[in-house]
């Protein structure tokens, strides 16, 4: 037997999934934001898991994200090429809100006084234009860094993506003189062109690294004191995990690992039912995260954002919209009914929480229509105030001249529309038809409106995994060991392009194999290659995937054809004769696959309700069967209207829909044609 445990620390709850052969433990405990590891260890004791018994522990947390949002990172100094000290403040010279006359740019966690220059310049081809003034680095820069008391230094020199020699040299000189200062070079964090984005990413990486490092060492110490001697790894935003030791060196990939873990858990669980083309939507308290999965592989985006700042690191391509259970329902000053993007959050929360919130939210709308039962929330551990939910909708109902129940139903339709638009961003806007995909809802609020989202999109099938509110913690256990790296390597698409890809890949592969062996990750590795391509003259690239097994025989024409198809899918044109194409960069992924996916089942529940309840639908009240999720046997068919109530979430099966649990524990839902 081997015990595997995933612990996902979120803003409000800490989730745990523990799997030991056939034994499965699932629990949610309150998070402890001041010391997140306390909540994590509470979840272990709550589930009755002794650390000594754990062979494989995977952890995900919001620690990196919070360090940036709450400005709790290291004191960072920034070093760049002479003439360009201000790039972090100039940024891209645009505004994110074009009509805001009181606009303020997103701020990096340092001041102008913390930014320094070194004499040097390298051109785009990597040729040295101005040699590095090493004497000034040692004689001027180092003393100022020492004097400033910096805990970390980020170096980003122009064109270092092309020729990193000067950055490496500056780093060596600083480290030799100031051994206690951590130094991050831009070419180590992200080897891509566009200096502001690379510099911002490097600064943020340097800023959070000491925080992650301290947190992980505390975590490891606590584990060690409980005699834990298994593997300890940490989740990344690219959907893979890495041993904690590696994460302490490259912490920026830990940002937003939670949503990525959810996608991975959902995808792996859906695979068991043979469903590989998916649209996942994770609806939580404040937001909904949507992603599109083709052939069992979530797509990867080259960049994400935090607090308005760019983070140039490969992440799972997840679109987030401000539409969650806590999203506020309101009427704007033009008289239009709106849902979100503002949220009541965890505090004061929805009106039905009785924590001081009076304004109606999507959760209140569910309580009013009957799809959330007041005494069954979170397995009955949190009593909801049904009357307060009704009262919260009175003003809006009056203004729209609707009944309270119809106003709540209207709010849910708008919440559905918000999610539909997010799904369109990842599907139709990228040339993918949502009707070709299975909809996979999770998070506490996803299964409540999945059928309505599917109807709007024309989606035929919905797959609901067990314990939809804890799928992120399961995703930790389902994650492969992954490292993804991207490099700018600009070259025209001509007869030499394929051999340049082969060269770059050979270099990456050698490095990756060395690194994984050093991390103790033995076994077969698989590789992903994505060429970032565009027409010569364009500024935005389109990813073109290249099968690593086909690389040896790859031809220029193959790449041209793939690019042309991809461009046409998104922009409705492309591939006209005579238009030149170039490769701008390449993204490589290395993956050590999980040997066996752990089992996952519904958590048993002691909660029992009436056999039937009433739910308010657009066509009036509907008598609805009430079924406990854990009681739903394999191959048992449930015809709507029904509610399948679980520990972390409720599945709403509307009239004319049917749901069936399959042998892998998933519920498949579709329209009932009989």
């Amino acid at each position: 037997m081997s015990m595997r445990v995933g612990i996902e620390v979120g803003g409000t709850f800490t989730d745990l999934v523990a799997v030991d052969g056939n034994r499965i433990e699932v629990i949610k405990v309150p998070s402890t934001p001041a010391n997140p590891e306390i909540g994590a260890f509470n979840s272990l004791s709550g589930a009755g898991v002794n650390p000594i018994a754990i062979d494989d522990l995977v952890h995900g947390s919001t620690i990196a994200t919070n360090a940036i949002l709450e400005r709790k990172g290291a004191k960072v100094g920034f070093v760049t090429t002479a003439g360009f000290r201000d790039i972090l403040f100039l940024q891209r010279h645009d505004r994110h809100n074009i009509y805001d006359v009181k606009y303020a740019k997103p701020a990096l966690p340092l001041r102008r006084r913390d930014c320094f220059e070194v004499e040097e310049r390298v051109d785009a081809a990597g040729r040295i234009v101005v040699p590095l003034d090493e004497a000034a680095v040692s004689g001027l820069l180092v003393p100022r860094l020492a004097q400033g008391g910096y805990g970390a230094v980020a170096i980003c020199l122009l064109s270092a993506y092309s020729a990193p020699g000067h950055e490496a040299r500056v780093k060596a000189l600083i480290e030799a003189a100031l051994p206690n200062v951590r130094v991050a070079c831009s070419h180590e964090v992200v080897r891509e062109f566009r200096e502001f984005e690379r510099a911002a990413t490097t600064v943020l990486s340097a800023y959070v690294q000491p925080v992650i490092d301290r947190y992980l060492s505390r975590f490891e110490e606590t584990l060690a004191s409980a005699d834990f001697d298994g593997d300890f790894s940490v989740m990344q935003s690219n959907g893979g995990r890495l041993p904690a030791a590696a994460m302490r060196r490259n912490s920026i990939t830990a940002l937003f690992s939670g949503p990525a873990a959810g996608v991975v858990g959902a995808v792996r669980q859906a695979e068991r039912s043979g469903r590989l083309n998916l649209i996942t939507f994770d609806m939580g308290g404040t937001s909904t995260d949507v992603s599109l999965v083709i052939n069992g592989t979530p797509s990867v985006a080259p960049e994400t954002q935090i607090d308005g700042l760019p983070v140039r690191t490969p992440v799972l391509d997840i679109v987030s919209v401000g539409a969650g259970g806590g999203s506020l329902v309101w009427i704007d000053d033009g008289g239009m009914l709106r849902v979100g993007p503002r949220s009541a959050g965890a505090s004061p929360g929805p009106a039905c929480y009785r924590r001081g919130g009076l304004a109606p939210t999507v959760t209140d709308a569910h309580v009013v229509r009957g799809t959330i039962r007041g005494d069954a929330f979170l397995g009955g551990t949190m009593q909801l105030d049904v009357d307060a939910a009704h009262r919260s909708f009175e003003a809006i109902a009056k203004q729209l001249n609707l009944s309270v129940k119809d106003a709540a139903a209207a709010a849910i339709r708008l919440a559905v529309a918000n999610i539909v638009r997010a799904v369109q961003v990842v599907s139709t806007e990228r040339g993918r038809d949502p009707r070709d995909y299975v909809l996979l809802p999770f998070g506490g609020a996803g299964p409540l409106i999945a059928a309505e989202v599917a109807e709007e999109l024309g989606v035929q099938e919905i797959l609901v995994p067990p314990n939809p509110g804890l799928i992120s913690a399961f995703g930790l256990l389902a994650a492969d060991y992954v490292r993804i790296t991207s490099v700018t390597r600009r070259c025209p698409l001509d007869k030499d392009a394929a051999s340049i890809l082969r060269q770059e890949f050979a270099r990456f592969r050698a490095e990756a194999e060395r690194e994984f062996i050093a991390l103790g990750l033995h076994g077969a590795l698989s590789f992903d290659i994505t060429a970032e391509m565009r027409f010569v003259g364009q500024a935005f690239e389109i990813p073109v995937e290249v099968d690593a097994d086909r690389l040896a025989a790859l031809k220029e024409a193959d790449l041209a054809a793939e690019f042309s198809t991809a461009h046409r899918r998104i922009y409705f044109h492309g591939g006209e004769p005579g238009r030149k194409v170039e490769i701008v960069g390449v993204r490589f992924g290395v993956r050590r696959r999980l040997e066996k996916l752990p089992e996952f089942r519904e958590r048993p529940s002691q909660l029992r309700g009436p056999a039937a309840v009433e739910v308010w639908t657009p066509s009036g009240p509907v008598k609805t069967k009430l079924i406990a999720a854990a009681d739903l046997a394999s191959h048992e068919v449930v015809k709507g209207a029904a509610m399948i109530e679980g520990y972390s979430s409720t599945l709403w099966v509307p009239p004319n829909w049917r749901a069936e649990r399959d042998q892998s524990g998933n519920i498949l839902m579709g329209r009932d044609h009989r």
Partner: protein, 550 residues
């Protein structure tokens, strides 16, 4: 038909999402720096009557007038004469357009063989012919500024894709690879708009979607009216001035009278300078965009869809023959400068009644710099970059440093992208300009500067800017920001360029282009000392500048 409030909310948000997607794809598939980095373009959906329903919010200046431009086309080519594949195209400033580089394209959206809407896109093209690459500062009239396209009905199959019009256009532009690529991006944006609207109509029915379009116009109108109602009735005046016309040293005043009556507002630019001989005139469409943009920015929340309904309570007037409504064939390429002064004048007029919502004058100038180089064999290489400056301060906030002006929203081109694309010059410096802010209780934003080293012979610079002489005024006792300048170091010599200028460069020249800062808000002596010291420690101001802060 009566509209269900939920259908209305859902379909209207979907229409806005369509316009946004069109705009994103216009920019992301574009080729020239001016469209792909500076995002100088826009996209919109119009109803069958030509009212703008929803627009991609990219550049304030281009928003609002697409409908006006369209009217000129619709008068010539009524809906019932249009067939699948037809498109309308125009750039003529004297038929409702803005300036020649902005080429507008429209395509009807058919459903059951009836025109139900139009998809539109506009892009600022990096070169559209004319007397100089990218920008002809010496143009005496609109003919010298480039190829004039009057309202035309063309057919995609017949006239584009290698057809006669496409070939004519290609033959008249200096960088056809970029210009024609940007036209493809415009066509792609339109194709996306057409497809999405047809999807919506298929899903909800033409009657419902048409009703939502009408309701959305009423909705924006209602929100604009409720915003105007907040301003006390009265007559408010403001004034500012453009430095000069590039030929003389005489400032060119811009005057405005804002009259608020209930929920309506009248903006009259009477008293503004007469049109000038160089390209600083603004076609009336641009003047209207400016006036409406100020009101939107100052009075309303960001989420009001900017459509034809929002304009109904607003009247904009400018005397014919003035800089803000010139007679044909005045050159108009650099219209932004006078539009920015119209923005400043209107802001000042409003400052008397909504002092907490306005800001002091910012540098508020579009500075366009073009470096061009002709090489034997490979043709023209044209680099164009747009610079903003410092924002004016507000009652509760310092002005934003080094950002594009409020009527525009252009990104910079990354230095590393410039390094990859251009071998004939190199950027030596790109930095904030310390001390360029106006002092005040709240300070103005800083300007910025760039220095270029010219690496080859036969390079030419063309430039238009403003506020080289007249700085951005502070508000309520705040001080003015610094002016801008452009100079060339040639050996030991310094050559000063004017704010509207063109010049032949030689290898080894160093060009410095500096834009200024915004005005302060409130008296300088009221700023708490720790805030002054903080800026001092950051080098945002010098010790000397700080010691005069009183």
């Amino acid at each position: 038909m009566t509209l269900d409030p939920v259908d209305y909310a859902i379909i209207s948000q979907a229409l806005i999402a369509v316009a946004r997607e069109m705009g994103v794809k216009l920019v992301r598939s574009a080729y020239s720096t001016v469209l792909r980095e500076a995002r100088d373009g826009s996209a919109a959906l119009l109803d069958a009557h030509g009212n703008t329903i929803a627009q991609a919010e990219l550049i304030p200046m281009q928003l609002g007038t697409i409908g006006h431009v369209f009217k000129a086309c619709q008068e010539l080519y009524p809906n019932d004469e249009l067939v699948e594949g037809d498109f309308l195209i125009i750039n003529d400033p004297f038929s409702g357009g803005q300036h020649l580089p902005d080429v507008f394209m429209f395509q009807p959206i058919f459903f059951e063989r009836k025109v139900i809407a139009f998809a539109a896109s506009v892009a600022h093209h990096i070169d559209i012919g004319g007397g100089d690459p990218g920008l002809n500062t010496a143009a005496p009239d609109v003919y010298a500024e480039g190829l004039i396209i009057p309202p035309l009905k063309l057919n995609m199959q017949r006239d584009w894709h290698g057809g006669a019009f496409e070939r004519l256009l290609r033959a008249n532009v200096r960088v056809p690879h970029q210009t024609m690529g940007d036209f493809d991006a415009q066509i792609a944006a339109i194709a996306i708009g057409r497809r999405r609207v047809v999807e919506l109509v298929t899903r909800y029915g033409a009657a419902k979607v048409t009703a939502v379009m009408a309701a959305l116009l009423d909705y924006s109108e209602a929100r604009m009216r409720s915003a105007i109602r907040e301003i006390p009735d009265g007559v408010y005046k403001g004034e500012d001035a453009v430095d000069d016309d590039g030929l003389t040293d005489v400032p060119l005043p811009v005057k405005v009278t804002v009259t608020v009556t209930g929920d309506e507002i009248d903006i009259d630019f009477a008293g503004t300078a007469n049109q000038v001989r160089r390209n600083l005139n603004s076609p009336f469409a641009s003047t209207v965009s400016t006036a409406v943009s100020v009101l939107k920015a100052v009075l309303t929340g960001p989420d009001i869809p900017f459509n034809a309904g929002a304009f109904r309570p607003i009247k904009v007037r400018a005397p014919k023959g003035s800089m803000l409504n010139p007679n044909h064939p005045a050159p108009v390429r650099a219209r932004m400068e006078v539009c920015f002064r119209a923005w400043n004048a209107t802001m000042k007029a409003l400052s008397r009644v909504v002092p907490d919502k306005v800001i002091a004058c910012g540098f508020d100038t579009t500075t366009v710099a073009v470096l061009s180089h002709l090489t034997e064999g490979s043709g023209w290489s044209v680099y164009l970059e747009i610079f903003g400056g410092g924002y004016g301060a507000a009652v509760d906030q310092d002005g934003c440093d080094a950002v594009d002006g409020p009527l525009s929203n252009c990104s910079n081109t990354p230095i590393e992208a410039v390094d990859q694309d251009f071998a004939f010059f190199r950027v030596l410096e790109y930095r904030l300009r310390p001390d360029s802010c106006g002092r005040g209780k709240l300070r103005g934003g800083l300007g910025l500067l760039r220095r270029y080293e010219i690496l080859q012979e036969r390079v030419r610079i063309a430039l238009y800017s403003d506020r080289f002489r007249r700085s951005a005024e502070g508000l309520f006792g705040g001080e003015s920001g610094a002016t801008g300048y452009c100079q060339i170091e040639r050996g030991d010599r310094i050559i000063e360029l004017k704010s509207k200028d063109a010049f032949d460069l030689i290898k080894g020249d160093i060009v410095t282009l500096a834009v200024g800062g915004g005005g302060g808000y409130g008296r300088a002596g009221e700023r708490p000392r720790p805030q002054i010291d903080d800026d001092l420690d950051d080098g945002i101001i010098s010790p000397e500048f700080a010691s005069n802060w009183k």
